[in-house]
Assembly symmetry: C2
Amino acid sequence: MKKILNQPESYVDEMLSGFTAAHPEYYEQPDRRVIVRAGGSVQGKVGIVTGGGSGHLPIFTGYVGPGFLDACAVGDVFASPSAEQMASAIRHANGGAGVLRLYGNYGGDVMNFDMAGEMVEMEDDIATATVLLADDVVSAPKQEAEKRRGVAGMVYAFKIAGAAADTRADLGEVTRIAQKAADSCRSIGMALSPCIVPQAGKATFAIGEDEMEMGMGIHGEPGIWRDKLKPADAITDEMIDRILADHEFGKGDRLSVLVNSLGATPLEELYIMYRRVKQRFDDLGAEIVMPLVGRYATSMEMTGATITTLALDEELERYLKAPAACAYWQV
Amino acid sequence: MKKILNQPESYVDEMLSGFTAAHPEYYEQPDRRVIVRAGGSVQGKVGIVTGGGSGHLPIFTGYVGPGFLDACAVGDVFASPSAEQMASAIRHANGGAGVLRLYGNYGGDVMNFDMAGEMVEMEDDIATATVLLADDVVSAPKQEAEKRRGVAGMVYAFKIAGAAADTRADLGEVTRIAQKAADSCRSIGMALSPCIVPQAGKATFAIGEDEMEMGMGIHGEPGIWRDKLKPADAITDEMIDRILADHEFGKGDRLSVLVNSLGATPLEELYIMYRRVKQRFDDLGAEIVMPLVGRYATSMEMTGATITTLALDEELERYLKAPAACAYWQV
């Protein structure tokens, strides 16, 4: 297993120890598997909490910070945090104005976050609401969009919900805006090589030297189709076509685009893809605003990339551009 | 070859096209292989120029920006830019106060940058100076430190030289400070897997499933010794011990530390290493200031990491903390 670690069992706790030691200006760890903003929750502001498995940095816990999230519950690699950890994160995010649970649509996370919501409403009288990210267009057909997985679109939802909460909007309004951001995201992924989960110690899937997996999930879930490796422009076109089939963009539309490495794929290759993405939206007459190119939502050392579009209206664009800061993204 | 690209021959040009399209607020491309700050050179400020092979993003060209570099000459993957490209970068960096060439100690780069310096001094009457980064402690013994390779320490030198130039210090003074930053950096690398150069289409070296290469260069140059893969703390200790043997740190000393992924190694594993780095310097009574953990100087999709220390005095710490902005690092 070619990874830099001590014991698989201590991977996440040692990671969090280094993470908070490296960035004390952004992160505090009030509980074993909970990360909160330095300084804690903000009184009178709707708290925004997320959670999910480890192995996706900067997702999830990296996006805790001013203008982003208030707290995050941290699971083992690719595993849901417990309901207790999520309840603790909600309590730490609470500034007296309610807490929005904003996370990806995965069974274990949904079950535990629902339970955590009940716990804090009963025990602590904290009002909560939920917005699920389900942006992976190929993980279920459009008529069953609620079954889709949440992937890199989470990054946009965190940014926009965080900015909305910063205006001191109430829980209903922050929830509305976060839901609008979630509904405006479309993502698709592709992979060239798997990753290694520390506790398993082996690759999450096998793939030939000349193959690529299209529609891959961020935990190594099988893709939708496997193909011979194609040139970058053909791969990018296929991904963009799938997104456009689900959400049309045309003349005068404004959007943001995230071209994201799943881990190993270098920035150089993301820019080769972004070049093509830009050509495609230029051809449609749509304008890309504040593009993101880099590692925003990863699957450890997986080779591959995802493309996410965020359709903008005036409100979403304003929140996207509002000031925010964490260790990985500063606006 | 598991890479996302169109043709190997167009890799760098297509990458630059996407790079400038994604970040027009930071970068412009006035010449085919030259990247300059958006808005061009700053009148009356010493220009700072770098250059080198592609495949190391964010190094080199990513660090063009306010408080960092003024221009960069961009070579093919792991290949020096030409003297003409370097001369063009120097001309574009020139704001009338002279230009510092600040780059890594590699034969081809040194030869071409020296030639470029002669060209602009003769043809354009631009005064230039040179500071070479040679921070890789294991690439040559201490008594031949001038033979060492330049690796991730470049990131610190770019930051500090850029801040010094922003004070409108003259060329001699900017050169003095940049040299001090270069002399204060120590780096060491280790790799678990090679990378693939697009034009070669195959791995830069072969390594066993249970082996690691210590003292690896950032172009896949062979390491100094090969060992069985060890636990993260043992690897980190061995790297820190090599640095400490070259540059002592003790009680009350201040330093910055960069724990850098060579590409594929995930952030999670860098934090596991940083946790140990922090313990080691805590034990010495030395204080880490503004640690950097992430991908700052890569070798495409190589798996592995480097550790760099920057010994600080009051002057270097002030310049390290001065405002600066590029697409990858904002202070």
